[in-house]
Amino acid sequence: MSPPTSTRSTLAEALRGWPPPPLDPAGPHAGAVAALSWALFGMFVAVLLVVVAALLVALFGKPAWRRRLAREKAIWIGGLAFPVVVLTALLVWGLTLTRDLTAAPQPGEMRVRVTGEMWWWRVVYLDGEGRAAILDANELHIPAGTPVTLELEAADVIHSFWIPRLAGKLDMIPGRRNILRIQADSPGVYAGQCAEYCGGPHALMGFVVVAHAPAEFERWRAERLAPPAPPPDAFAARGAQLFETAGCGACHRVRGTGAEGLAGPDLSHVGARRSLGAGILPNNHGALAGWIADSQAIKPGNRMPPYRVLSGEELRALAAWLGSRR
């Protein structure tokens, strides 16, 4: 089994496609698949060489070789016996691995419900009784070194959850709940993207997993459960007020305010996220302001209307307040 080769810690690094994420596993589930993948690449090259060599012999080989290859026996050996042996061996490996990777979650594992929505992800951390404890969106925080159970659901159409460095993908299907277990061996940021075509801006529906060292994770959880802090300054307070008057709360929830909307992503901790717009923009005040002003220019087709009526000043105030929600 190939050990993890790198740990990426910033969003930009996590998004990098090289080395290919499925072959650069960061956890046991993806690791087992990576080992199988290398074996399969070997099989591909070996069999292709055999076929091409046979073809070259057939076309340009010595007459004696060609006579041997021209017999029906060649078909029995090359076309039947050879593939059956290779395929059976691979199949046994594949099926064993399939069984291991679909093992049921252990009792007491941390559970998170991730729901695919058009075109973002609702993230709900569940407590021991299965009740919603922390609400968030587009980013998942997990402790490194322990398996986490994800309950995958869909709110509208079919989506597919895929963090290639941690595990293979699993569909999110309306009316069903699929269980995926992931584990990151070390702290880092791991990116993924919706893999099932879900219409419109499916191309821009990313997701981020942040793995923390266990102690740091506990600190993170305590922060999320603590009562929210008031706006840090007057400018941010103005932003909070604007949030209310502009009607943002119709779609968005912000913990500790009157905003209880559930149609869009929960913004209680939006300032802490590494990305905006579901994994597509690095998160900062400028990006926040730009997104609010005209998200349609950034992610065409998403469900949020543009707010060009707001002045630059107002946008900055909103961004300052949202950015402070960490």
């Binding site: 290919p20 057939a58 029906e72 078909i75 050879f82 099926l95 569909d171 009316g175 990116a191 099932e196």
Partner: protein
């Protein structure tokens, strides 16, 4: 005696005949088979014309879908590129896949079957030439209208697999998705029509003596192809009907909030969709097995193994559909089964690849353009097959699924397995139907460009996919390392485009259509299509004793041309072909064939009009068009099953065969049986849907009506079946009793209607509603299917009475009554089984 039908094989020794043929005979044959001229050419039904039109139309759609591919590649050449806006891109990739799969690949191989099979089997034509014409025109008119939707921004945008709920009314409110369902509707009709034609053609119109083990491999492949269409297409026919019912009438087949399930669509779609890949690949493999021996100038090594491989592929391919659904969270046990089957299906492919290699090894290769494409196909297809083995392994598929790795895999398989053999076939068979062969010089360039382009375009995609790029994305972000492989892929795509353009140039410069004086056997093939032919195919139908008759009997072409074999002229003075027995191809009877007619064309146009007008929600004109389509079909069928003067005719060398047959000997019986198998498969799929949705939400199921109703329904259907049987018996009574059969058929249809009313009415009275639950939706879907078929049956009594009045029914010519009775009998059985299923299972409720 070594015979299937009582025919004495010693009679074959009379051929080739010695005595000279009457000089006027050939002229009469030409006269009988002459094609209409001018505008009347639209009414042509001969396979030389329809086959070529068909191939041409399929190639047109290949080019159109190819242009869409170039747009896709242009957009993806750079990150955040703005060539195609998101909505347009989503329509373009959906149309690319849909058009390539449904309007190019399936029709293209079917078209080659229509064009080549009669000549290969030395039949005068396929057994139902008007059906071919109908299928072609419906496909062309419907396909073009469907394609035009992209110019109005009305093209579907849900992907070629159209997964609900994305394609349900809630998330696709426009008529775009309906256009998809419409486009598929046409191809379903023409594919089924083609399958009927090909099954009956291969089983019943082979040259005498062409036993199944002498059948050209292409004909075997087409037989398996047609059988797979008959088994596989019903699933997608039902799927499209259900999706349209959900969209139009709000029946919740795929809506989980009311007991539907989106995964039901995936099962129906892929039960068709994966065999579909082999539906495309097998005929192309058949082409390879024809071309490779000619290229190597030696018989195919391992003929029997190759035929077994074709049959095995057809069989196993129905056990692999769920490998498209490994990521849906299926239970590990079923995942394992489908994984194993998906690995197994690669074995017969390996057998064929090694058979081609062995054949190349046995002979001496001539480096012609068909040879280049054939060898290019072996390499490319092998690579696609190997990545196929990789994704058949579930854990690897969980990573590769829905990424560009799959895009690479499927293009290697389809281009290597189908497009390259098709180009080989274009070059190989062009001289059969063109005065000049295509250019060998240009052909090499075409191959060089397309082959290089394919690998430049698709090899990097394996990597792009592993780097995390999902399929069906209209753009991607910079900084992920996807820029370079995407740019390379785009360059490769345009190389392919250039190659295809060069091929079009070659066609324009060298292709000159002809039916009589083709350039001939320039590559030196050994099968019967290389006999000298006219519109009537070979002048006389040879006795076949070997797999490569032209190689083994050098004088055969001349003997055939001089009329020294079966049917050297028009024995009855009209179009006709020899019907032979299924296994050993012994002459059974002479089939009269229809000539040019406007009715199939009009029927096709009105069929297209019906679907199109419904799609654009012009319901009134749509219904009118539908009625006209039915009227045209009836008018066309009216001319069939006509008496002929002679009861027996001499088909050469004093061998006399009847001019009419009924029951399993007749071609009409076979066609009806194939059609009823299609109907039965649709019914079976509806039954599956019912059980599947029950397994998801049994809590929503209500108890069935009182079981006395079940007794009434089954009793009514049993009466209908018995009456239909009596009608068929009555048809054999003397002419004075000619109205007995229509009268009994009328009673049978009345019994069908009563049973149906009892079935429908009792469910309604029990409170079941189609839009309320999965149970309501599926029960009423099964009833709707029975109702649609019943509506067709209800036309039969009137038709039979009209035939009787017109003096077209007689105790010897009973086919019309027989086939009507068969249809009604089938409906009685289907109705009973449907009622038993939904009223007894799961029972009580």
């Amino acid at each position: 005696m070594n015979s299937e039908t009582g025919f004495d094989p010693a009679l074959y020794e009379r051929f080739p005949t010695r005595e000279p043929r009457p000089p006027a005979e050939l002229e009469e044959l030409k006269q009988v088979w002459r094609a209409p001229r001018g505008w009347a050419l639209l009414t042509v039904v001969n396979n030389n014309y329809i086959g070529l039109f068909y191939v041409g139309a399929a190639f047109l759609f290949f080019v159109l879908a190819g242009v869409l591919a170039l747009l896709i590649r242009a957009q993806l050449a750079l990150p955040l590129n703005g060539i195609l806006p998101q909505e347009t891109y989503n329509q373009v990739f959906t149309m690319h896949g849909t058009v390539m799969m449904f309007l190019f690949a399936v029709p293209a191989v079917e078209a080659l079957g229509v064009m080549l099979l009669p000549q290969m089997l030395a039949a005068r034509d396929l057994p139902f030439p008007r059906l071919s014409a109908y299928a072609f025109w419906a496909y062309l008119v419907g396909g073009l209208c469907f394609f035009a939707s992209i110019f109005f921004g009305l093209a579907p945008d849900g992907g070629w697999f159209m997964y609900p709920p994305l394609t349900s009314r809630a998330y696709s409110p426009g008529i775009n998705a309906d256009f998809w369902l419409l486009g598929i509707g046409f191809i379903e009709i023409s594919a089924i029509a083609g399958a009927v034609e090909i099954i009956v053609g291969v089983l019943k119109t082979r040259a005498p003596g062409m036993t199944l083990d002498k059948l050209p491999v292409f004909a075997w492949a087409m037989l398996v192809f047609a059988a797979m269409i008959v088994i596989g297409f019903p699933a997608v026919i039902l799927g499209t009907l259900l999706l349209e019912l959900e969209r139009a009438l709000n029946w919740p087949f795929f809506d989980p909030t009311r007991g539907g399930d989106p995964v039901l669509w995936q099962h129906l779609f892929w039960f068709f969709g994966h065999p579909e890949v082999y539906i495309i690949f097998l005929p192309a493999a058949g082409l390879m097995s024809m071309i490779v021996p000619t290229v190597a100038r030696t018989p195919l090594v391992g003929y029997r193994l190759v035929v077994l491989a074709l049959l095995a592929t057809g069989f196993i391919s129905f056990g692999v559909w769920s490998h498209h659904m490994f990521a849906t969270g299926m239970p590990p046990i079923s995942v394992s089964f489908f994984s194993a089957a998906s690995m197994a299906v690669s074995v017969p492919a390996g057998v064929q690849v090694f058979s081609w290699i062995a054949t190349l090894s046995a002979g001496k290769v001539r480096w012609t353009t068909p040879a280049l494409f054939a060898i290019g196909s072996i390499v490319t297809f092998t690579m696609g097959g190997l990545t196929g083995v990789m994704v058949a392994l579930v854990p690897f598929d969980w990573q590769a699924h829905d990424t560009y790795f799959i895009v690479a895999h499927l293009h290697y398989v389809l281009i290597g397995g189908m497009v390259f053999p098709l180009f080989a076939a274009f070059y190989y068979w062009a001289p059969m139907t063109s005065r000049r062969p295509l250019s060998e010089r240009l052909g090499r360039w075409v191959f060089g460009l397309v082959f290089t382009g394919v690998h430049v375009s698709f090899l990097p995609m394996h990597l792009t996919g592993l780097m995390g790029m999902p399929r069906r994305v209209y753009t991607y972000l910079p900084g992920r390392g996807w820029e370079l492989p995407n740019l390379i892929s785009t360059v490769g795509a345009f190389m392919i485009g250039l190659g295809v353009l060069l091929f079009v140039v070659d066609l324009i410069r060298n292709f000159r259509f002809t039916t009589g004086d083709g350039a001939g056997n320039v590559y030196g093939g050994g099968s019967l299509e290389w006999l000298p032919t006219g519109l009537y195919s070979a002048r006389s139908i040879p006795v076949v004793r070997e797999r490569y008759p032209l190689w083994e009997r050098p004088g055969l072409a001349e003997d055939v041309q001089e009329g020294r074999y079966f049917l050297p002229g028009a024995a009855t003075g009209v179009r006709e072909t020899l019907i032979t027995s299924t296994l050993r191809a012994e002459p059974q009877y002479l089939q009269r064939m229809p000539g040019p007619s406007a009715w199939p064309v009009l029927a096709a146009v009105f069929t297209a009009g019906f679907f199109l007008l419904l799609t654009v929600q012009a319901y009134g004109p749509g219904v009118v068009s539908g009625v006209l389509a039915v009227a045209c079909v009836l008018r066309w069928v009216w001319e069939t099953d006509r008496p002929m003067r002679e009861k027996h005719v001499d088909v050469g060398a004093g061998i006399r065969v009847p001019t009419y047959a009924t029951g399993p000997a007749s071609h009409g019986w076979w066609a009806m049986v194939v059609l009823l198998i299609v109907a039965g498969m649709i019914f079976l799929m509806a039954g599956f849907s019912y059980v599947f949705l029950w397994s998801r939400r049994p809590d929503l199921w209500i108890p069935p009506p009182d079981q006395l109703w079940l007794a009434a329904v089954v009793g009514g259907y049993a009466a209908a079946g018995a009456l239909a049987w009596l009608a068929a018996r009555a048809a054999r009574r003397p002419v004075s009793h000619v109205f007995w059969a229509p009268a009994l058929a009328t009673l049978a249809v009345a019994a069908l209607a009563c049973a149906y009313a009892a079935d429908l009415g009792s469910w309604w009275a029990a409170g079941l509603r189609p839009d309320a639950s999965g149970q309501g939706a599926t029960v009423f879907a099964i009833l709707a299917w029975q109702g649609v078929m019943g509506a067709a049956a209800s036309l039969m009594p009137g038709y039979l009475i009209a035939r009787a009045v017109a003096g077209l029914l007689s105790p010897v010519r009973t086919s019309t009554v027989d086939l009507s009775a068969l249809f009604i009998g089938y409906l009685a059985a289907q109705g009973s089984l449907g009622a038993l299923l939904v009223r007894l299972f799961p029972g009580g409720g």
